[in-house]
């Protein structure tokens, strides 16, 4: 059974509509995937050269370790 018999006299319009939709959806998926790969690669290159964001940098050695909230508070003489 050919597509004309299956989809009637206007089969070409139906097939064209689904083809356009498939193309656009596939294009979006490909664009998002390729864009992600590129951004990840460029980020890796920059970080390999030692460039770091301030929030991603380890705290400097001289900084006092944060107080352990679980540690008992030492009573100080008034």
């Amino acid at each position: 059974m050919s597509s004309t018999e299956l989809l009637g006299p206007h089969a070409v319009f139906i097939v064209a509509s689904y083809a356009v939709t498939l193309l656009v959806a596939a294009g979006l998926i490909l664009w998002v995937w390729l864009d992600h790969r590129r951004q990840v690669r460029v980020l890796a290159e920059l970080e390999a050269r030692g460039v770091r964001r301030r929030s991603a940098e380890p705290p400097p050695a001289s900084a006092t370790p944060p107080a352990d909230p679980a540690a008992p508070v030492k009573e100080t003489a008034a």
């Binding site: 009637g8 006299p9 356009v20 939709t21 656009v24 992600h36 990840v40 929030s55």
Partner: protein
Amino acid sequence: MAWIDLANPTRFLRLVDRALPWLTALTVFAFAYALNGAFGAPDDYQQGATVKIMFIHVPAAWLGMFCWGMMTISALGTLVFRHPLADVAAKAAVPLGAAFTFVCLVTGALWGRPMWGTYWVWDARLTSVLVMFVMYLGLIALWRTVEDPTRAGRAAAILTLVGALNLPIIKFSVDWWNTLHQPASVVRVDGPAIHPSILIPLLAMTLAFTLLFVALHLAAMRNEILRRRVRTLRLLQAQGARGA
């Protein structure tokens, strides 16, 4: 986790990495079910098999408008609440909205030719959707023109809010004016005017399209956050080189 915790890009990226595989699988399953229903649905007594175009035309139209509505909320997030991910969400959504509005216009024209005898007519519904498509392209151009993401975000947010005025015009154009395009058949005061044998596959296709949009949008937001990190690192690198 409160909504405000999502404002942290790092935490948002971690959430996307965890959610995206499941969302992708759910989208594939939804499309398999919906397409099976769409091609199993009976022909329309007037339009014959061309009614199958409705299963992609209506979801694409819904997404074109849904996306602009979501960008409008993001615009408020940018301008009013200064949410750090608001303009990331808006920028990531624009190409997706433009693509689905394009699908809506093309499948509408391909459906119109056999049913109306013409690909295009300056009908209120068709024209207002075309205006929305042109505004999507304007937003894409705006984002690409302004270098600084913060300034671009603010300008795009204002244009988005202006464009939101077009959404009710699109929705009610078939009621306000005498249009060739048919009035609403699904979202109606006295319920859908479509037989369940066609309505259920249509709703399933709309759900599948919406899942596809959400998955693509989360992935595009992730890309945008990484792109801004790349930009920040390049600026730091340039400052470091200038300082040395």
